[in-house]
Amino acid sequence: MTVQAQKRSHLLNLVLIAVLVIWMILAAFPFLWTLWGSFKVEGDFFSKANWANALTGPLTIRETGGSFTGDGYHGAWIKEAFGLAALNTMIVCVFVVTISLTFGTLGGYALSRSTYRYAFWFLIIALIFRAMPPITLVSGYLPVFFNWNLWGYLPTAIVVLVAINQPFTLWMLHSFFKNIPKDLDESAMVDGCNRFQAFRHVIVPVMWPGVITTGLFSFLLAYNDFAVTAMILSKENQTMVPKISSFLGTTQTKGNVMFAVAAVVSATAPLFVMVLFFQRQIVSGLTAGAVKG
């Protein structure tokens, strides 16, 4: 690599740096802009007079006395009870991740160890299920949930999200288990363990890197979901994402769009922290499927 770096012409270097700078601005600037703007009043964040008002905030100073204001956050968290939605999101995510991983590790392990043809077809069917847009499935759930009075509750959403998560979880864990040598559990079975004991005592202790990575993606799927949670949860049980979308309906007319901006920043913050701590696992997870086939 160093050899190549020396050989690179100035022009090429310039182009590469330009690409990186432009991409960094595109990727990071919108978030910084929104974070900064969330501490301003609406008249500054959406300024008719001058776009730079969002940076300096003359109206914010005039209306609130300081150059930063927490009004948006106060409105979202206290007046609109965004905290409840955050709590609901937490409950949904914890349960979805735990259940998905439990089901997924068992299934993924079996799929990686079976040599029969049906294991292959099982994975192909899972791939087809993975391709189904969640909203098409939702239109299948609704009449049944209405009839059986299951509509609107958190457990319903959790079970549905677990199921929608399964195809992806199975694929990912399947490829992780494939990398754990077969000899490991087979020697345990020679020593007298049955399949489940071999799994429990030999595979479980070494599977955590793969499980953590898969768990991160299950978390993201549950956290980011809009189609399922918006249609299945009742207003009182809403999670953060549908709550934010409901802000748009009500607050834009009230002139409180800043509530939504503050809520958006609040909902993005946990994701930032997660990427910060688990960057390596996320990258390895994204590439696991592709590089290993």
Partner: protein
């Protein structure tokens, strides 16, 4: 692994998928050929001080009883598929006979709700997917050429657009391109038109949605390609250099063939994900200018009157679309599998 052990291991996850993915698909199929039970109308005679009059009213009790008896409604065959909100056979036929050229026919066609959604969904899928692959590749090459200590932070920021909630990411961009936002302002300045509004114009809305799509998905292609670049065989690259291959030739004959299988993987994932484009349309409130199949289903399901049959019919058509999209992949997998 024995059949029986395999069965018990995969039971929980197959049960979950059977109940909440397979059955819903069946349920959608059944619903799509049924429509709501008709309301029972009865005649009521109201006698007041000014004489009696007969009015017709909905017999709630009888309607409820009928609904209980027949929860999925009455069988309607393919009428829902053929009505104006879906395939709109009559309207298409009328448009065909009245229009005097393929251009005006298409213009009439995309005014029908289903074809409007379909045209945007397909355009989005087939424009965004190649752009994601191209931009992802360029970013991967650029990051790969950066100094080692810079790569960590570069990857951190690159991942953000992809990992952030789609609805939220789209909202953030939407606020920036608002006529009063920073990007909206910049566009007005560049175009020299202070009344320019991205929200009000159909082509600009389409472009904005696609820009969002590329912004959101390019990091995925980037990270896959980046990992691929790490695993390029250095010996092959060196021997190519010794043989006098220029930088471009190295990329063309060593790196691109190495990355080709990854491209298939990215294309497959992106086709699946872009076909379900939905959240940005909600965030951008773009439904006047662009709708997608997923959005059409969401729109039918939401609101006061939940039009379950209509949503189900659109869902079936969407699933058919997905199957057609996946067919080449499935055929190839099947060929690979039987060859082994």
């Amino acid at each position: 692994m024995k059949h029986k052990t395999f069965f018990w291991f995969v039971l929980p996850s197959s049960l979950a998928m059977l109940l909440f993915i397979f059955f819903p698909i069946v349920s959608v199929l059944i619903q799509s050929v049924h429509v709501d039970t008709e309301q029972v109308i009865k005649e009521v005679t109201n006698c007041g001080p000014f004489g009696c009059e007969t009015i017709t009213a909905v017999d709630q009790e009888a309607t409820q009883a009928l609904k209980r008896e027949n929860p999925i409604g009455r069988f309607a065959g393919f009428t829902t598929y053929l009505d104006r909100r879906h395939l709109a056979i009559d309207e298409v036929r009328a448009a065909w006979s009245t229009s005097n050229g393929i251009g005006s026919f298409i213009k009439q066609l995309v005014n029908l709700p289903f074809y409007k959604a379909m045209s945007f969904t397909l355009a989005f899928t087939f424009i965004v997917t190649p752009l994601v692959i191209i931009f992802g590749f360029i970013i991967a090459v650029a990051v790969n050429s950066a100094a080692k200590w810079m790569r960590g932070p570069l990857i951190f920021f690159s991942l953000l657009p992809m990992l952030v909630t789609p609805l939220i990411g789209a909202l953030i961009l939407f606020w920036m391109v608002d006529a009063r936002g920073i990007v909206g302002n910049a566009l007005q300045y560049l175009a020299g038109d202070p009344t320019l509004s991205v929200k009000a114009s159909t082509p600009l809305t389409w472009i904005m949605l696609m820009v969002y799509g590329v912004w959101h998905s390019a990091p995925f292609a980037f990270i896959v390609y980046y990992a691929g670049l790490q695993s390029v065989n250095q010996d092959t690259l060196e021997s190519a250099m010794i043989d006098g291959a220029s930088r471009w030739e190295q990329i063309r004959y060593v790196i691109i063939p190495h990355l080709l299988p990854l491209t298939t993987f990215i294309a497959l994932m992106q086709l699946m994900d872009n076909f379900r484009v939905f959240e940005p349309i909600v965030s951008f409130s773009a439904e006047a200018h662009a709708t997608s199949l997923s959005w059409a289903i969401y729109n039918d399901l939401g609101g006061e009157t939940r039009q379950l049959s209509s949503a189900a019919a659109t869902s079936v058509l969407t699933i058919l679309g997905i199957c057609i999209l996946l067919l080449p992949v499935l055929v190839r997998t099947w060929r690979d599998f039987t060859r082994k």
